[in-house]
Structures are given as C-alpha cells and as structure tokens.
Symmetry: C2
Subunit: 354 residues, 2 copies
DNA sequence: CTGAAAGCGCTTACAG
DNA sequence: CTGAAAGCGCTTACAG
C-alpha cells in the first residue's frame, strides 16, 4: 500500500511567505482572533486566493481547535433504512449545514460501543447525534462518560441528565386509539413492534395497553418486525384471532405496506370493512388504494430540533429545554370511517382533529 | 465558544511510558511495520488495554498515514433522497465497512466544487465516491486535478481515464421497449426525466428515441421531474395527447407513484387498459394495486461494485476493469399483458425473461 | 499590530 | 530488536 501522492496542497507557510508575513499572522487573519492591519490582511487574503489555500482541518484539529463537524451515528444493519429515517437525516443535514458545520453520517453495520469510542476519540467531530436508542443503551453510557456533547433522537429508560428529542410515543398511539373509539370502533387490532429493546417500541406497546384499559377494550396485538412481510403475517394473525375487528393500527409505514396487502388479499376493503391507521407518513403510501389516515411521527421536526440543540450545545448557548417530547399529529385520511351498530356509515370528519 | 474538554484521552506517550519503551516501538507494535520482540509487544498491548488506548486518526493522518476512510459525496438538496439512493448508500456502506474502512457520507445542500476541494484537501478521507453525475461535471474535473482516487456512480459525457460503475441506461430503456413491443404494443408513452444535465437522464431519453426508431414507433414522451406530482401530471399529458396509448414506462419509482395514481383517477386499469413498466424497484411499489413489471436499476450491485473498485484503488490493487456498465434486469410483474388487435389478452410470460 | 517558538499526537527515516 | 529526533500543518501563549 504505497502512499497516495495527491497534488501537493498549499500550506500556511507558503501563504505566509507569499504575503511576506509570519504564519502567526496568516492564522489570525483567518480566525480573526486578534487584530491584523487592514493592509496586511489584504495581502494575506490575496495570497490565499492565488494559492487556492484552505487550511487543513486535520492540522487544525490536532492543534486544538474544534472541527466544526458533527456526526450522526447511524447503525446500518438493524432492520433496513426506512423512509422515515431518511427524512430524519435530510432534516438534520439541512440544519447542520446551514450553521456552517460539516455533517458526517457515520455508518457501520452495527455501531457498537467500540465504534463510538473510536469516533469520539478520533477527534473527527465536535458533537454526536444518536439514533435508534435502546431502552438500555451502552452507547449512551459511553458517550456520557467521554463528555462529548451529544443529543439523542429518542430516549432510553432512564434519561437523567441526558439531552434528547423524541416523539411522544404514548401520545401517538393514544391519539390513534382515541380517534377510532370516537368513531365508534370497539374491536381494535394493533400490529405492534416486536423488538421491545428499541425504546420507542416499548413505549407505544405500553401506551396501547394503557389506552385499551382506559376505554375498557380488549388489547389485541400482533407483533411484527420492521418489514412488509412481517406486517402481512401479523395482519393475517389479527384477522384470524379477532374476526370481529373493525379497525387496525400499524406501527410503521413499512409494516403497513404488508398489512394493506394482506387486507386486500383477504378481500377486506378499507375503509368499508375495516378502518386503518398507519404510523409514519410516506410518499409511497399514496400508492395504497386510498389516502391513509396516519399518525405523523414528524421526523423532520424531531431531526431539526435535535440538530439545533446539538449546535447550541457546541456553541455553549444555553438550552431552554434539554428534553423535548414532540407531540404527534393525526392526519385524517380516507381509511377511517365511523362505525355504528355493526356497520360502517361512510366518511366522517371529526371536528378538532386535522 | 470555549473549547470542550472531553475526558483526556491517553496518548502514545503514556502507553510507551507504561510499557517502558519508546513511542517508536509502540507505533511499530501497532502497525507491524517493523519487528518487535514478542515480550515487548506483550507489554505494549497490555499497556494499551489498560489505558483503553486507541491512536488518534487525526495525528496519524497529519503524520502522513492514510485515514482509512472514504467519503460518499452526496448532494442533499437536488430532488430529495429516493429509495434507490438509500439502497446505493446501504450497499456501499456494507462493502466499505467490511474492508475495515470508515464510511463517511458527506452531505451538503449542494455539493459544489469548493466543497469538494475542501473534502479532498481536508485529508479526512483517502478516496471519494461520487453520485448524481452530470453530463459535464465540474466536480469530476476538480477531483481529476487533485489526484485523489475516486470512483463515479454514473458517468459524464466524456469518460476518458475515469473510473466508474453505471447502469446501462440505454439497455434499460431498450429492454422495456422491446418487451412491450414483443407483447404487441405499438403505442407507447414514456414519462421521461426532465433535467437532461443529469447524465443518466440524457442517456435513457436518447435510448428511448433510438428504440422507437428501431421499431418504427412514434416517440411519445412527457417529461417529469423527480416527484410523484410531476409523474401524475406527465401521465395526464400522455393520456390526453396519445389516447391510443396501450403501454407506458416511467423513469423512476417516485414518478411511478404519481403516474399510477393518475391512471387510477382517470379510470384506466392496469393492466387491462394499459400496461405499465416502472424503472427502479421499491418495497413500496407493493402498495400499488398489482405487482408492477419493473426495470431493476440494481443499486445494490452498482454501489457494491463501485465501493469495491475504490478500495482496490486505495490498496493499489490492479483493477480488471475501470469502467463497468451494469446490465439492467427486467422483472416481470402483473402490470404488463399481451396486446392483440386492439385488445388485451391477459397475463403472459415471455420465455427467457425473468 | 506582528513574530519566534512550543506543542497537538502521531509516523518514519536515521542511527545504533 | 530498539531509540532519539525531525516533521506533518496548524494554533496559541509568550514577547515585543
């Protein structure tokens, strides 16, 4: 592995020489950390332009200044990347870039504790954004120890002293159940997450149980991992075990793809035979036979907020709130209808719910 | 902006001291670039473990060794991120990590020439992967000048001396047209890309024209940007201008989402009234009323191949081929049927095509 | 307003 | 088999 020779890049020394000053002055002309005579500054910048100079982030960082980069730690392996997650990433990237920071997405098949240590110690980044938070998350523990500024998207079981932005999962599932009950449904089914280590999953399952209790309804659930296939199978299970079911909720767009197919294959029409609510909101859901009623998990809002908070942290700006719970939104589509005395009665708008 | 103080990380000096050797020896024990007595090595590694030492990539890089990182340059702004692109990224990440390299996705709203220069000169990465290649791509020009190893996913107009992996766009559209003609269709419509600066777009449009010429068919196209809405509108245009149309092709999954909706809204059934082929292949297309026949643009294969080639380049391994044109795949679904004498005649398997 | 010098944490000739 | 020293390209006290 011979070393690559890239076109020799100009250094601060060459700039200094060309401008007839010491490199100290070049450095300060750039950083503005101490006054430089206008005339001198002119010459320095001219030299920089002529040489197409841009300071080496590597050297800078080694010499002790911040890298002005933040990393999103993103485990690639687990499920796959979903539409929602892409939207997190996009909104984070926008905010980060807009503040002049470099945005690095660090992906490894399974980002474990050692990888995190690597990243932190690498000095590559000033701060870290963490996704896919587990109930008990080793990565969080490590990050806390190392003292690097970080913000979680999601939250663990115990969040004392941690900074996070998370969708309010309990409210989200509650919103869906309340809405369906309000429409007159009494037999609900929930295609719920399977891996309860994933903190968000745990919360919406608990939330569903709580909601059912509140309305004194049976708590019908069928677990499905993050895939269309699993959603398909879970829906079949629900249909078989609870033929009386008049409404169903699916915990993610990915699962919904399968669940809707299952309903179609079993000859159950949405919304005539069964009302349906999907978590998330995806461009692709348009392909379904009708507009779905969805619980918007608001990845853009959550992602942007988290990025914003991390940057504030890096700038030592005070944070108004370190723990933000984003309220979910119910977007009323055509997949949910009123249910009275065992029959559906057509589309209904419920006032007050957008 | 006071500097962050992260937990002081151990340095090579501390390791050396603890092991009772010079840092030179520690360095060589790690790199293996020169022999170290087994006993000494033992002590060094023991010290490393005790201190949880991991060498600073920053310092390493500055001292002249490769970073073992590669960057995927990914402009965020232009269209949005599509499912296909996510699949490129995932497959690239897998290959890169598997070879022990760090995979950085560098996203900026619009990655322009200056950003590229920054990246290259930053020394953050050993090599670069470039996506969304334009017919005339300034970024490519710069990258060539700087001498950093890079591989394109896609290709420009003139590719002399460049290394790339690209789907054979001309073959892709040709495959679709040939197939439809073979099924007896003579009036085809193509929802084609609008921005012909995008090299792939240019190629499939040319390819369509060529294919139509070959079969002596009129060349009906309606351009659509990368969005469902645009696809919707383009399909309406095609339906209005070419009511005789019995088959349509859409240039991307995103556009297909809209196009299929338009057909549904206009009461045209797939495949009874019109056969339909979509480029790309998305999980979400399952939501359509039937399995679509698709031209698989094979992002996994293309991405993995490109990553593989870049890593070979970095390891100074010889490349068998520097320019790879990936053949497209036609996946036969239920959205295409035989058309005879003005009427559709049901599902057909064409032998030899999977 | 400006410079000379030390130091960030490594790697790598150069010596032995 | 092992060390002492120079150097990578910057930043930042310390002087003036």
């Amino acid at each position: 592995m011979t070393p690559r020779k890239t076109k020799p890049r100009p250094t601060i020394n060459e700039v200094a020489q060309r401008a007839g000053v010491a490199k100290t002055t070049v450095s300060h002309a750039i950083s503005g950390k101490r006054p430089v005579a206008p005339a001198t500054r002119e010459r320095v910048f001219a030299a920089m332009h002529e040489l197409q100079y841009s300071p080496s982030p590597i050297a800078r960082r080694l010499a002790g200044s911040p890298s002005h980069a933040i990393a999103l730690v993103f485990p690639l392996a687990s499920p796959t990347i979903a539409d929602v997650e892409v939207r997190y990433i996009a909104s984070i990237g926008a905010v980060v870039n807009q503040h002049g920071y470099t945005f690095l997405t660090l992906t490894a098949p399974e980002v474990n504790v050692d990888d995190i240590r690597q990243i932190v110690y690498s000095g590559l980044v000033d701060g870290v954004l963490l996704m896919r938070i587990q109930q008990k998350d080793e990565r969080v523990k490590l990050l806390k120890e190392t003292d690097i500024p970080f913000v979680m998207i999601g939250r663990t079981r115990d969040n004392k002293g941690l900074t996070f932005v998370d969708l309010n999962g309990e409210a989200a599932i509650g919103l869906a159940v309340d809405y369906l009950v309000e429409l007159g449904h009494h037999a609900l089914g929930f295609i719920c997450p399977q891996d309860l280590n994933f903190a968000f999953a745990q919360r919406i399952v608990k939330g569903f149980e709580k909601s059912c209790d509140k309305h004194q309804l049976p708590c019908n659930m069928a677990p499905a991992v993050w895939s269309a296939d699993a959603g398909y199978r879970a829906m079949l299970v629900l249909l078989e075990q609870h033929p009386e079911m008049t409404a169903a909720i699916a915990w993610s767009e990915v699962v919904t793809v399968g669940a809707v197919s299952a309903l179609r294959d079993m000859g159950r029409k949405i919304p005539d035979d069964i009302s349906f609510i999907s978590f998330d909101r995806s461009e692709h859901l348009h392909l379904a036979s009708s507009d779905l009623t969805v619980i918007d998990t608001r990845p853009e809002a959550v992602g942007a907020q988290a990025a914003q908070m991390l940057i504030s942290l890096l700038k030592d700006e005070p944070l108004e709130r370190t723990q933000v719970l984003m309220p979910p939104l119910l977007i009323n589509g055509k997949s949910t209808v009123r249910h009275v005395n065992g029959q559906h009665v057509g589309y209904t708008k419920v006032p007050g719910i957008h």
